[in-house]
Amino acid sequence: MIKADSVALRRWRGAAALALGIAMMAPAAPEAGAWTLEEAAAPYRGVTIRTIGESLPPLEALAKMKAKFEARTGIKVVVEMYEHSEAVNKVMLDLNSRRGRYDFILQPHRELGRFVTNGHLVSIDKFMNDPKLRDPSFKPEEVLYQRLWKEISWYAGKPYGFPFTALTMYLWYRADLLNDPKERAGFKAKYGYDMVVPSTWRQYTDLAEWFYRPEKGFYGTAIQGKRHEALWYEWLNFLYSFGGDMMDVKSGSECGPIIVNSPEAVASLEYYKSLIKYSPSDTLNYFWDDAMAVMQQGKVFEVIMWNDSTYAVEDPKVSTVSGRMGFDLIPQGKGGKVGQVEGWTYLIPKYSKNQEAAFLFIQWMMAYDQQLEQHMNGGASARPDVYAAPQVRAIPYSKASMDTNAVAIAKPTIPESPQITDILVRELSEALSGSKTPKQALDRAAVDMHKLLGDCAPMRYPAE
């Protein structure tokens, strides 16, 4: 029986090898009836589709890559690039005016709830179930980080798009200084243990303190303390790591008990505030650009920073510390290994007159080749196979990016989430400036969140 089986297997293998050989020798023409982009796009030839997003390298890369799509399909793609808030505001006005200026939009996922609950979006299912439009080889349920896809582009159990960028924050540190024998010896003498990549917040503080040398214009760390979204994003890393959260919910589209003033949250803000003393004097007026600038200029030892900015600190044309940096997961607290994730997502407005053409472009951009090219030009792909590519593995920050992607935590995407962000930005800024204690600030945030959300969000920790 075993023998007969092995003969059959050998025969099958031989036939398969023969078929594979013939297939490889045959021209690359698609088999009859197979899906091709050109055929799918034929009805839309000559159509112009328009999009809008944040003026950053991932979108700049897309703007360069679109020519290939245009050449293959005859569909023209127009890209509008604006600063973060401007890109969000213009979309909000366009959606509410129902003009349909944009055929697909690129938006931060915290806006998702607003768009979906106001009926501005079309579920991507509509196109994925259309065999004329869907490339059968595109299987998002297999090729994307499922947790990221669901966090960034799904709302209430339904997919509305695909991640444009999977943005996470992780630790940036000066590897050259960490490995400097003189620094290591001095550090060990003072703190009693070897200087290592910080895996705890205690170590993070020790390193910030050790490298805090303002007389030489060098600082241990830099926090993004300006009254700006950057502050909220950065603090979330600390909040999650200390075991806290804003609401006790399982997904971003749920409303649930408010826990933003829990003891863990207060501890995280107290700790975050304690880092001011090791930061540059202007740290309370810094947002992500400023924190990155001081890092690029070699003035800071460690920061928590975005993955899509990392290329800039490793680019010798704009950074004095290129090749001297190290990247890792943020240190661990009670919350274990965590990462704060924010994604920009492809979405198709209901008012677009060219939804199908827009879907074809998005699907084309999500394919491996395009994702790889975009990632190599400053993108942040949500496809694990992109991170497995040798050229991506060679990038020094790829591992930190992948590790963080794997432990990303959901944040609210309910319609009120941008207001929640505003409340927290205000209160965090109050705490950092010293107008309020961390406890007072978070209590106030909890009260305001409760007022905003109503009965679906009771306060688990009463405000004092």
């Binding site: 505001n89 106001n118 009926g119 300006k226 007026n285 319609p415 207001q419 800024s429 400036s433």
Partner: protein
């Protein structure tokens, strides 16, 4: 007694066609000012929100007004911050502007050249002013921060825009830097247009410079000073660009002026019903300030005339 128009104008007025010529301006005024204002007041009685579902502009009566009066401490804090900002900037700009105008009037020979130099800050776009000062006051690389530290006016680890006690005074001084030249320009123009006779008579009577300034220059300039104060007051009340660029309203809510708060409610939270109430209140306050100011000036003038 009414003065009768002569010629073609008189002929047209006699035949009642004047309203026809006024119509384009009136229509523009109604479409661009009155219409939107009425619309804004209308929205203020609704729950209109671009962010929240089912907030499609349903009538909510005075709910938004009640929320503003009873339940929005941030609004009142912004209101107080704005009043402080207006009082400080208008006072400094008026005093410095008057001083500079007197200096230019009495002691500077190449007045036009100096005046041209003085006007440069006023001619810059507010956003450019904000960005320029942000760079100069940057904690690590800012030129001005560096020199302030060198002369000991600023601590080594103090940055003006990040320090709670320094941020508002810094912003007031930046506004004064930008707008004092405007006050100077207007007051100087006023001084140059004053009649010479009262001054000559006062000198003949033996009045000293201080007496002349107090009893002749100031009373004659009163209307112009009032106009400048009013214009600067309204402008300061609406200040947005510079402060937004410099601090974004922070640290905390230390520099959150009413204009920034209004922007936040309308264009960050998209709470347009409530945002209309906030905008309406800003309008109301400016209106009240203007009319109180106007009345005060005319009351003083009437009292002087009665004397």
């Amino acid at each position: 007694m009414t003065v009768k128009e002569s010629g073609v104008a008189g002929w047209l007025v006699d035949r009642g066609v004047a309203p026809v010529f006024l119509a384009p301006s009136l229509i523009l005024l109604v479409v661009l000012l009155v219409g939107p204002f009425v619309y804004m007041v209308g929205i203020s009685f609704t729950d209109l929100s671009y962010a929240l579902p089912n907030h499609d502009g349903n009538f909510v009566g005075f709910d938004n007004y009640r929320r503003l009066m009873r339940d929005d401490p941030i609004f009142w804090s912004s209101f107080a911050t704005t009043l402080g900002f207006v009082a400080a900037t208008v006072s400094i700009e008026s005093l410095a502007g008057l001083g500079l105008a007197l200096l230019l009037f009495h002691h500077i020979k190449r007045r036009r050249f100096v005046l041209t130099l003085l006007l440069i800050p006023m001619m810059l776009a507010p956003v450019a002013v904000g960005l320029m000062w942000k760079l100069m006051l940057q904690g690590e690389f800012g030129m001005l921060t560096h020199y302030l530290r060198v002369v000991g006016l600023l601590g080594a680890q103090t940055a003006p825009l990040s320090t709670l006690s320094l941020v508002m005074p810094t912003i007031v001084l930046i506004d004064a830097w930008e707008w004092t030249p405007f006050v100077t320009l207007v007051l100087l123009a006023g001084m140059l247009s004053l009649p010479r006779e009262p001054f000559e008579a006062a000198i003949m009577d033996g009045a000293g410079p201080l007496r002349i300034f107090r009893d002749i220059t100031m009373p004659l300039l009163r209307t112009i000073i009032a106009l400048v104060l009013l214009l600067r007051g309204i402008d300061a009340f609406k200040e947005f660009d510079k402060v937004f660029i410099l601090t974004g309203g922070g640290p905390g809510i230390a520099t959150e002026l009413l204009s920034i708060y209004t922007w936040r409610i309308n264009f960050r939270e998209w709470d347009l019903g409530y945002g209309a109430v906030v905008a309406f209140m800003v309008y109301l306050v400016v209106l009240i300030l203007c009319s109180v100011f106007h009345k005060a000036i005319y009351w003083t003038e009437a009292r002087e005339t009665r004397r």
